[in-house]
């Protein structure tokens, strides 16, 4: 199955002047928070500043702006092309093209693929340009963590938002970074991360397709590894990745995920497009260190409210 990582990064908006004011970095800090408000599958619209209550380390904050997501989006797709995706690569290429078409002309698109290695198939480019999906080829192992890190650390322009959606069919089998590091990075990232990860399945490495990279032949008979069917999984890896997504204001899209690449993206993208962007200047709290963000609605409701859970200041 293809792994898609869409990272939605929330860009903070410059209030005034030419000086760059970035989230969490300036003495004139403006904090921007993507907030999703949903009633079941439906986005809740028509809310204003008075409808939200925002706390920063428990201290109520004055919301200075609420925007209904008119900020251009930088979309990063991270695609799992490990050995188990053999036979579906044509489907994935078509899906990537279709996904890129869902973006607006002012949006931008980036495509990262991962198998044994992590590859930037399409550097960030205007969404209107058709992505060269023929460069997507099947590999061997799964460097999911490394791919997520690659997407999450990206510096985001202040007048844009960054969305990452990750979709993978298996456990990480070759990353140099552990899943705990993904969580640590996600907490600090300027992005919203959605994950579509199916239950761990393919432990057995698929046969090398014809024309596969001969420089990295697979381990076939070494020790007991192949007999065991693959590499041992990192304990609680999926749960840790779920927490990483939640930390950014995103979520895991599975279980219940239909398996459609485009379907998964539509869910994440619709949610992101219809999200509110709240801004406030932190007051009554030291700027340094971790800030826990709380976002609720002022009136009783049955809505689901989702936002990133904090940021590192200073």
């Amino acid at each position: 199955m293809i792994g898609l990582v869409l990272v939605a990064a929330l860009g903070s908006l410059l209030a005034e002047g030419a000086q760059r004011q970035s989230v969490f970095r300036s003495s004139a800090t403006v904090v921007s928070v993507d907030v999703s408000v949903r009633a079941g599958d439906r986005a809740v619209g028509g809310l204003g500043p008075d409808d939200f209550i925002v706390t920063d380390n428990g201290v109520p904050q004055q919301i200075t702006a609420v925007d209904l997501a008119t900020v251009p989006i930088d979309l990063t797709l991270v695609v799992d092309v490990s050995g188990s995706t053999a036979g579906r690569i044509a489907q994935y290429r078509a899906a990537v093209v279709e996904i890129a078409r869902l973006l607006h002309s002012e949006d931008r698109f980036r495509l990262i693929a991962f198998a044994t290695d992590v590859t930037e198939v399409v550097p960030l480019q205007p969404a209107a340009r058709r992505p060269p999906v023929d460069r997507l080829t099947v590999g061997r192992l799964t460097s999911l963590n490394d791919a997520l890190i690659t997407a999450l650390v990206r510096r985001v322009d202040l007048d844009r938002r960054h969305l990452i959606v990750a979709f993978s069919d298996g456990d990480d089998s070759f990353s140099v970074t552990p899943t705990s590091r993904v969580f640590q990075v996600a907490r600090r990232a300027e992005a919203v991360l959605h994950l579509a990860i199916s239950p761990a399945s393919a432990r057995v490495m698929a046969p090398v397709p014809p024309g596969a990279n001969a420089a990295t032949p697979g381990i076939r008979y070494g020790g007991g590894l192949q007999a065991q069917g693959g590499f041992p999984a990192e304990p609680d890896a999926i749960r840790t990745l779920e927490l990483a997504a939640q930390a950014t204001g995103g979520q895991r899209l599975s279980p219940g995920f239909s398996g459609s690449l485009v379907g998964a993206f539509r869910v994440a993208f619709q949610d992101f497009r219809s999200s509110y962007v709240l801004q406030y200047r932190p007051t009554g709290v030291p700027l340094e260190g971790w800030h826990s963000i709380g976002v609720t609605l002022a009136r009783p409701h049955d809505y689901t409210v989702r936002a990133r859970n904090g940021y590192f200041g200073g």
Partner: protein, 374 residues
């Protein structure tokens, strides 16, 4: 002759024949294996190894090729008028067998078909007194065996697990050691393919916790790892392999959760001159060990040191970027990633370390081809 569509898995490599003959690819239903073998050997002997390799890439049935080599190569060798040329032809035949092995390495199925041909090649080079060509040939053969992870080829025995041996074991290591008892890499070779080494070197850090849980249910695993560490320690007395032996010890100590011993061995490995592959990995794993030991500043220093050895290597870039992102230097992380994508793909030792000596294949091949030039 009408050009028709070629089906890849065609017995005796009809396309291979066409390549060697320099004619457009055609389907010929009745190619004789002997003809292909002779043309392969002739091409190689006449100084056209790339042409022979191109033909090997179109071979559909390596078992058929193997049978053909066993049957027809001796005749081809004997047909040379003078003994020196017969000796050279024998070396050519052995090298063609090895080249077939390299091509077949792309797939588990084809490696299984060609491994006995590689062993046949070993028999060819072992005739007569030991030579430098034979020594390099044996090194090259082990590099392929590492690439295949074929421990049964090397040691003629299964190691751990309930895996059944799918084909005949071959004690290739014994062949090599008997002929060259002082060659250090022949002593290191089987250790690289041990389950403990293969299992652990692909998920470092992750498996620091693995053993904590495994100790209770599979205590013999830790014992096996410690035995391997002891065997590697013995090899640190051999200067040619000391750095790699210490590197692998450092990795295994890391997996056992003994971070200080890991760091000590990796530091020694990194300090020894010679192999940038070893130096890079020693710094990378040192970084991982310091990360696990909650020493992020030291970890960053080691990741940066690794990247000085092999700039833009993906594993070092990712590890460093992830670490920097958690510090006031977070702004450098994105630039680091972007810069690595802006350059042509770099061979990352992390991606290849599980395949042991396969990294030496190009160097060995160049020497061997030089040893059979007309």
């Amino acid at each position: 002759m009408t050009a028709v569509r070629i089906i890849r898995r065609f017995t005796c490599g009809a396309v291979a024949m066409a390549v060697l003959c320099g004619v457009p690819k055609t389907a010929q239903l009745s190619q004789q294996p002997g003809e292909l073998v002779i043309r392969l050997l002739d091409a190689y002997a006449q100084g056209r190894p790339e042409q022979a390799v191109a033909a090997l890439r179109d071979v559909g049935d390596f078992q058929e090729l193997s049978r053909g080599m066993v049957e027809h190569a001796p005749v081809w060798i004997a047909a040379a008028a003078a003994q020196p040329e017969r000796d050279r032809r024998r070396r050519v035949a052995a090298l063609v067998a090895l080249e077939a092995g390299r091509v077949a390495l792309d797939s588990a199925d084809t490696w299984a078909q060609v491994r006995e041909l590689v062993e046949w090649g070993c028999v060819q080079v072992r005739s007569g007194p030991p030579t430098e060509f034979e020594r390099v040939w044996l090194l090259a053969s082990i590099s392929l065996i590492h690439g295949a992870g074929d421990i049964y080829f090397l040691t003629a025995r299964a190691v751990g697990g309930q895996m059944t041996v799918p084909f005949a074991p071959i004690a290739h290591r014994d062949h090599a050691r008997q002929r060259f008892p002082d060659q250090p890499r022949f002593h290191l070779a089987p250790i690289v393919l041990r389950r403990e080494v293969v299992l652990l070197t692909n998920r470092p850090g992750v498996l620091v916790g693995y053993f904590a849980g495994a100790r209770a249910t599979a205590p013999e695993v830790e014992g096996q790892v410690r035995e391997t560490i002891d065997d590697l320690r013995a090899l640190t007395a051999l200067p040619a392999v000391e750095a790699e032996a210490r590197l692998r010890m450092g990795i295994l100590w890391f997996q056992l959760g003994d971070l200080q011993r890991s760091i000590d061995e990796l530091g020694l490995a990194a300090s020894l001159p010679g192999d940038p592959f070893v130096s890079y990995l020693a710094h990378l794993f040192s970084g991982l060990a310091h990360d696990h030991g909650r020493q992020p500043a030291a970890a960053i220093q080691h990741y940066e040191a690794a990247l000085r050895v092999r700039p833009h290597a993906r594993s070092g870039v990712t590890a460093l970027a992830a670490s920097l992102f958690l510090t006031p230097r977070r702004g450098e992380a994105s630039a680091l990633i972007d810069a690595s994508f802006a350059v042509p793909s770099v061979v990352d030792p992390w991606r290849t370390h599980a395949f042991g000596d396969l990294r030496f294949w190009p160097e060995y091949l160049a020497q061997l081809r030089n040893g059979v030039r007309p």
